[in-house]
């Protein structure tokens, strides 16, 4: 049996009954990493010894008939912007390259409590700012389907690791599409939960009112399983939602059941605006639902077009403040022999931050400056409310909205780096979801002419992740795009 063909859930079930050893699964993952990591460069750090030791302890626990967690013995990777007491938490930035966190993020604690084996920390765009992982200050990650292409971003390392089966599940974070777009580019499942459903404590902040942690997995059931582990109120995160207000579901329960009389909202112009290959696959996917008995309803989202403008004011405003703490004084990179304390700041920051991070800090600082605040930040907040209104109105008519994750498939490395605005425009379908705070999933729904994966985005009302995953599973049951694997042997660097 090829261990690596198992899903996270299948593996867990086998480990829990002792038919597979976590040690073997972990060994298998590390041999996969040794084989493909040089080609993909998904990880900033890996923890082979610690992972094997943890796997061994889980195996012993199971052998002793002790109760094991929901992810018992399953090798998992987390994006390197989540704090861990083991290994550095670099955010793919020279600023934090050697930073070791004194505490674990809440999600990391939850993974460990569920007996997961954390095998490594994945690459990302520096501080999660980007859509291609080209902004990583430490390394370039390559798309497993075509290593000339980007894996998407900012959770490019997590998505590439998942697609290469260098882990059984991964965690990413999504501020404007950073889970869904790389999942789409790498042909895996990515879920951005409702804002407040998963604790942000220990997630290094980019845009605090938009950031949300979520799973990147090989199929929908695994996303549900991961949600069962990470979702819930955290006393350390004031913005996480009280479970008394909105209870956390069992996301796996009933996942195989189709939804009767499902109403799907679509905005035809949005689908028409995508590249032809993308458009065709999205239309095919919608047909698949139609054939399954769903009703397709045309809706309007008049303010959607303003989402990029609003996002790049709000996210950057928050980022300019969130990143102020990286000043060379307390931790992280500090410049050599500064003339005075002002130079500690200016030189340390200038030396360690990459171009995109600097660009966003400057944009955000400008948006918050006296005299500009009302015209930019405040206006963007108002637009955000209008976009929320678009979703509220849409969900009065339908259960979910479907559209592409990205207008294109994975683009070539370097293709868009010269024009940041063009890069920003690639996030047109994902950003509004963060502004509205609602959950959305990216689901493999086919390939373009170059055999690059295409992602279908399904968006649901706030806190309806369980239903969203059932809707996604309806498609997955009727198709097997999620089972296709990149051919890594023919796929070489130029």
């Amino acid at each position: 049996m090829d261990l690596l063909k198992l899903t996270c859930k299948e593996l867990r079930d086998k480990i829990a009954v002792g038919s597979i050893k976590s040690t073997d699964a972990t060994e298998a993952i590390f041999s996969q990493i040794e084989k493909h990591e040089p080609q993909i460069a998904a990880f900033i750090s890996t923890f082979k010894d610690d992972a094997l030791a943890k796997a061994k302890s889980i195996d012993e626990k199971i052998a002793a008939d002790e109760k094991s967690g929901l992810l018992a013995g399953v090798p998992i990777c987390v994006k390197d912007n989540m704090c861990t007491t083991f290994g550095p938490t670099s955010c793919a930035s020279k600023m934090l390259e050697n930073f070791h966190s004194p505490y674990n993020a809440t999600v990391v604690e939850k993974l460990l409590a569920a007996d997961a084996v954390i095998i490594g920390k994945a690459n990302l765009d520096e501080f999660a700012m980007g859509s291609s992982t080209e902004n990583s200050g430490l390394q370039q990650t390559f798309n497993p389907w075509d290593t000339r292409c980007v894996p998407g971003g900012s959770s490019g390392g997590s998505a590439a690791a998942m697609a290469t089966k260098m882990c059984f599940a991964a965690l990413g974070s999504d501020t404007g599409g950073s889970i869904r777009q790389p999942a789409s580019f790498c042909g895996v499942v990515g879920l951005k939960p409702t804002y407040g459903r998963v604790s942000r404590f220990g997630l290094v902040a980019y845009g605090s009112s938009l950031d949300q942690i979520g799973p990147i997995t090989s199929d929908v059931a695994d996303a549900a399983l991961m949600m069962n582990v990470i979702a819930g109120k955290d006393e350390n995160d004031s913005t996480s939602i009280d479970e008394k207000t909105v209870p956390v579901s069992d996301y796996l329960a009933g996942i195989e059941n189709d939804i009767d009389k499902l109403k799907i909202g679509i905005v035809p112009e949005f689908i028409a605006a995508a590249d032809p290959d993308v458009r065709n696959k999205i239309e095919e996917a919608i047909d698949c639902y139609r054939n399954a008995g769903s009703e397709i309803i045309e809706i309007k989202m008049p303010y959607f077009d303003y989402s990029i403008a609003a996002y790049y004011l709000l996210a950057t405003a928050e980022a300019s403040s969130n990143l102020a703490r990286y000043d060379g004084v307390h931790y992280g990179h500090r410049t050599d022999s500064p003339a005075d304390y002002v130079e500690v700041y200016s030189k340390s920051r200038n030396e360690a931050f990459g171009a995109e991070v600097k660009r966003r800090i400057m944009l955000g600082t400008y948006a918050l400056s006296s005299g500009y605040y009302d015209a930019y930040y405040l206006k963007a907040l108002k637009v955000r409310n209008l976009i929320r209104g678009d979703f509220t109105k849409a969900f009065e008519k339908c259960d979910c909205i479907m559209m592409p994750v990205s207008p294109t498939t994975a683009f070539k490395i370097g293709e868009k780096t010269a024009d940041p605005l063009q890069m920003y425009m690639a996030d047109i379908y994902t950003i509004a979801v963060n502004l509205a705070g609602v959950p959305a999933v990216s689901l493999p729904c086919g390939f373009d002419a170059n055999k690059l994966p295409i992602g279908l985005q399904i968006i649901a009302p706030a806190f309806e992740e369980a239903k969203l995953l059932r809707i996604a599973r309806m498609f997955e049951k009727r198709n097997d795009y999620h089972l296709e694997q990149p051919n890594l042997t023919t796929n070489k660097h130029e």
Binding site: C83, S208, N236, A324, Y341
Partner: protein, 488 residues
């Protein structure tokens, strides 16, 4: 000589450190004097990924202060980030409140020297986190101690309603009294629990025209003395400057001064306030605070009689002097001790005299409050009643009070042991009076003759009686018997 008249105009910004169990946004205990960076956690030192969680007790303390300062309390308030770079500010932004403070406009009554009071308007009172401390030890580098970072501070801003150094000092002391009464701050000046920043200028009338001198702000004053003196010094300096240069105020332009406590002068720090842009915006890590009626009324129930109210009541209800009432209400425990003693049946003025003349001295020696001397209000009341009824003399009451502070709460027993009880037995006293009269017929004759010598003679007879009783006779009673015997 030109005709020149001036008024001092002062507004105050006051930072009060709240005596909460933990810091404003994390679980660290508040710190004073511990080893540097020993009371810190990822949240208060701004580690990557750490998030703040609001301390509800700090909010309740602030609301309690707001209620005591008669502030409007809005039902919705939020947290904002105030951005500036400084090594003692770990996140390089401070969590504070910008446009929607917990407490809006209000006022504070301050006692004036003439026994009246003055109402000073409060602009706002908001909650924020304190920064750490930079330590400059003369090395080529500086150190940062973040123990204080994240300590809850209530920032109170007044309108420019104060018009002298004395008034500014009075407000500071009154505020200290209030926050201590409410139990929301230790308000220990030595520990920097209260820090003041007065904004000062003058309204000068010269030849019938009014001029305003440039506003100066004196930073970070942490004693009442420095506060008063800095205001008085600035007023003189500004007057001199105006006479020399004629410089007047420009809107939005304020220079910053420090206070040199050794030389008693203000020192210019920044000529013109740089156009600070703090880039305030709502903190996305915290949720807004909604103050509903139910919560507010719960907090309201914790309000107590405020010091100035108490002081005025002591004057009106008990006829105390304003000075004595002020002394007795300086701290809540003493005021309550006084109140309880009176309630237990003692005569207010006598309690006041005993406490101000003896009690406070004893407390001072033992470095505690009167209430902590070990004397029960009931026992003190008993002592007062004994004195009022003439069982003991006023000076004996003082002696007994000193004994009582040793923990003995039975004044009668002390009076007996120390033989301080006055003779009140009429029968016994009558016998003694008869004896004295029998031995002094001349004096009786002089008394009866009337005229000049009469008074002196009766005084002589009283003296003989007191002498015969070795001083233990109740003088009033002895006098009464004597005049009866002499048929007067």
């Amino acid at each position: 000589m030109t005709n020149l008249d001036y008024k001092i105009i002062v507004g105050l910004e006051i930072h009060v450190q709240l005596a909460t169990k933990t810091k404003m946004f994390c679980g660290c205990a508040l710190s004073f004097g511990e080893d540097a960076n020993s009371r810190v956690c990822p949240v208060c030192i701004g580690m990557p990924g750490a998030l703040p969680v609001m301390n509800k007790q700090a909010v309740e303390f602030s609301l309690l202060a707001g209620l005591a300062l008669n502030c409007e309390i809005p039902s919705f308030t939020k947290w904002d980030r105030k951005s500036y770079y400084y090594p003692d500010l770990p996140k390089n932004y401070q969590i504070s409140q910008y446009d929607l403070p917990l407490n809006g406009t209000g006022f504070i009554e301050i006692p004036l020297e003439d026994g009246t009071s003055k109402r000073i308007r409060i602009t706002r009172a908001h909650l924020e986190e304190d920064a750490g401390k930079n330590i400059h030890a003369g090395d080529a580098f500086s150190r940062v101690d973040l123990n204080r970072a994240g300590t809850p501070l209530l920032e109170i801003v007044t309108e420019p309603d104060l018009s002298s150094g004395t008034e500014v000092r009075a407000l500071a002391i009154e505020l200290q009294r209030i926050v201590r009464y409410l139990g929301i701050s230790e308000a220990d000046m030595q520990k920097g629990h209260m820090r003041f920043e007065p904004n000062i200028n003058l309204a000068i009338t010269k030849d019938g025209t009014e001029y305003r001198t440039p506003i100066t702000e004196v930073k970070n004053l942490n004693s009442f003395r420095a506060l008063q003196r800095s205001v008085e010094y600035e007023a003189r300096r500004q007057l001199d400057e105006f006479i020399d240069t004629g410089k007047t105020m420009v809107m939005g332009n304020k220079s910053t001064y420090g206070w040199d406590d050794n030389r008693n002068v203000t020192v210019l720090q920044r000529e013109k306030e740089e156009a600070h842009d703090y880039r305030y915006f709502p903190d996305p890590d915290l949720v807004p605070v909604e103050v509903d009626e139910k919560w507010l009324s719960k907090i309201k129930s914790r309000l107590c009689e405020l010091p100035l109210q108490k002081q005025k009541r002591f004057v009106e209800q008990f006829g105390l002097s304003d000075y004595d009432a002020g002394v007795l209400t300086a701290d809540k425990a003493t005021a309550e001790f006084f109140d309880e003693t009176v309630k237990a049946g003692a005569e207010a003025k006598r309690v006041c005299n005993l406490l101000t003349q003896i009690g406070l001295k004893l407390a001072n020696e033992k470095n505690c409050s009167v209430a902590e001397l070990g004397i029960l209000p009931k026992a003190l009341a008993k002592l007062c009643v004994m004195a009022s009824e003439g069982q003991i003399s006023a000076s004996a009451a003082q002696t007994i009070l000193v004994e009582m502070s040793g923990g003995e709460n039975e004044p009668e027993k002390i009076a007996e042991e120390k033989n301080l009880l006055q003779k009140n037995d009429t029968g016994e006293l009558e016998k003694i009076v008869d004896e004295v009269l029998a031995n002094n017929p001349d004096a009786i004759a002089e008394v009866k003759a009337g005229g000049k010598k009469s008074k002196k003679a009766s005084g002589f007879l009283m003296g003989q009686i007191i002498k015969a009783t070795k001083g233990s006779a109740n003088p009033q009673m002895a006098a009464k018997i004597l005049s009866q015997k002499l048929g007067q």
